[in-house]
């Protein structure tokens, strides 16, 4: 039996996986010092300002934190003078801070799992966190130069973060978050996306790949099928969060040798108040049968191991294990992977 990591590599390469990859089993999401300087909100926290000055809330019973954009809380008050409002937080961390994080990376059994550094929010998200989403999307049309400049500034910050991460933590995978669409559509046209975001992401992802990162997993729990050629050009290896509206079967046929797809188990379908093990198993079976085991990883769409309703993620994991036992005789998947971690 392959280890979870070997199996995921076989799946991505279209080689010989010996079972379905089980969600995030081969991805150990790990932090970097900036995440402690500007921590993710805990459920129930409201109106907390992060290091960029963006106010966020994480209402109880919701999947994650969300920016609060009442007029007084929008960071960029005037896009033509965004430099007066946007001040990149420091990335100068002590060796002790890096070492504390490094200990988490060193604890990973690298035979079984990738050391995946978690970076969020992405460039596009950061623009609308800072400006408010309607403003930001309008600025992409009306203030192209300012948005290019803002994105350049954010990209330079991300590259500096990447430099610190690669030289101190040595991850072999990047898990990068940036939602580029809604359930049925991308937020912007492919042309606009390429004009603003393609080159910055090529630069960021190239840096990681040039400095020890083997795989780039990009999270966007959305429709983004029309952006897949750009994702490939950026260097993304796995599009995590892909929804079925992307027609993933067609994407696998067309692009599977260049990019893999991870998702298709949508929170809206299984992660509900009245969830059951039976419903989770039914969905797992349907998704696995529909999309197969090469270039596809059945996974909850959300960006990290977990679910809104406690128990759903584990139930999905159990269902994939059960399927792997039935189809491939895998009796003891736990021996080939690190303990399942539920982070969210």
């Amino acid at each position: 039996m392959l280890t979870a990591k070997q199996n995921m590599i076989e799946c991505i390469k279209g080689g010989n996986p010996d079972r379905f990859v089980n969600q995030y089993e081969a991805i150990r999401l790990l932090f970097h010092p900036f995440m402690f300087a500007s921590p993710l909100l805990q459920e129930g926290q409201e109106n907390v300002k992060n290091a960029w000055g963006v106010t966020q809330s994480f209402p109880k019973g919701t999947p994650g934190a969300f920016p609060v954009h009442t007029p007084d809380k929008i960071v960029v008050k005037d896009i033509e003078h965004w430099k007066d409002y946007v001040h990149a937080p420091s990335l100068d961390f002590s060796q002790e801070q890096w070492d504390q994080c490094k200990a988490m990376y060193d604890a990973v059994d690298t035979d079984k799992a990738f050391k995946a550094v978690f970076v969020a929010p992405g460039i596009f998200e950061q623009t609308h966190y800072l400006c408010e989403i309607v403003n930001a999307l309008t600025y992409y049309v009306e203030y192209e130069d300012e948005m290019h400049d803002l994105i350049k500034y954010l990209t330079e910050w991300e590259l500096k973060l990447a430099e610190g991460i690669c030289s101190n933590l040595h991850p072999d995978m990047l898990f990068h978050h940036d939602d580029w669409g809604s359930h049925d559509s991308t937020f912007m046209s492919p042309n606009m996306f390429n004009e603003f975001l393609l080159e910055p992401y090529k630069e960021i992802y190239k840096y990681y790949k040039d400095h020890g990162v083997e795989y780039i997993v990009h999270h966007s729990d959305s429709y983004a099928a029309t952006l897949v050629p750009s994702m490939i050009e950026m260097g993304i290896d796995v599009f995590q969060g892909c929804m079925e509206t992307n027609h993933v079967d067609e994407l696998i046929k067309k692009y599977g040798d260049k990019i893999s797809f991870m998702g298709c188990i949508e929170n809206a379908d299984v992660d509900k108040e009245d969830w059951t093990d039976e419903a989770c198993e039914k969905e797992v079976r349907r998704v696995c049968e529909t999309y197969g085991m090469k270039h596809f990883i059945p996974c909850i769409a959300q960006g990290g191991p977990g679910s809104v309703y406690p128990g759903v993620y584990q139930s999905l994991t159990n269902a994939i294990d059960k399927l792997n036992k039935e189809k491939f005789g895998i009796e003891d998947p736990d021996s080939a992977r690190m303990p399942i971690e539920i982070m969210f």
């Binding site: 309607v134 049925d184 937020f187």
Partner: protein, 211 residues
């Protein structure tokens, strides 16, 4: 009509800074203000809505078109007879309690405004009672629109619609619902009058319901 066509083209292209001058020129050329509104702007936004629905344009282009129309309407308002702007009726809109998502709700609000409705936007994370209070303060409201983006806030939508359904004014309003996890089946289950998939369809449906 040349002036009205210019306004139409600028709204479709989302030229917010130029539309004001075009409206002024059309007025100076003797165009009827109501025709500038209906044939120059509302008709233009109908085309924008159709293009959005067909995937020819995306959210940014729709937003700048709506902004262009808004700028044009501001300039036109003093020339319109009282009540012509917003003549389609009054709409109350909000994202339900516990949900902070606003993009879908904002798009719907803009398309409704662009279709001639007067929109009262309650914002995000709106407790169900606020919808009732807003109606009581605006008893000429024709539609109440509720948005939710999370599966976890579908229940808040259900409770909001239940409260509206139990209200004494229910017969005077139509209730519309929308958002990523919402479906026609869910809308039927909770007793809403209508569900639409996107902002452009919502504006079309709203016009039918308010007619």
């Amino acid at each position: 009509m040349a002036g009205i066509q210019e306004v139409y083209d600028l709204v479709v292209k989302g030229k917010a800074k130029k539309v004001g001058a075009a409206v002024t020129e059309a007025l100076e050329a003797g165009c009827d203000p109501t025709e500038i509104l209906n044939k120059g702007m509302i008709a233009a936004m109908d085309e924008v809505g159709a293009k959005f629905k067909n995937g020819e344009i995306f959210v940014p282009e729709m937003l700048v078109a709506a902004k262009a129309m808004k700028n044009g309407v501001e300039l036109l308002k003093p020339h319109l007879a009282s009540g012509v702007a917003g003549a389609a009726g009054k709409v109350i809109i909000g994202t339900v309690a516990g949900d902070l998502h606003d993009i879908g709700k904002n798009l719907v609000a803009m398309m409704l405004e662009s279709s001639g409705f007067e929109v009262i936007d309650l914002g995000v994370d709106v407790p169900k009672e606020k919808f009732v209070e807003a109606y009581e303060a605006n008893p000429d409201t024709k539609l109440i629109c509720c948005s939710a983006l999370l599966t976890t806030t579908m229940n808040a939508m259900k409770e909001t619609v239940e409260l509206l359904n139990a209200s004494s004014f229910r017969g005077n309003i139509k209730v519309m619902v929308g958002g990523a996890p919402i479906s026609q089946a869910f809308a039927d289950e909770i007793g809403a009058d209508a569900y639409t998939e996107d902002a452009a369809s919502c504006a079309q449906k709203a016009k039918e319901l308010a007619a």
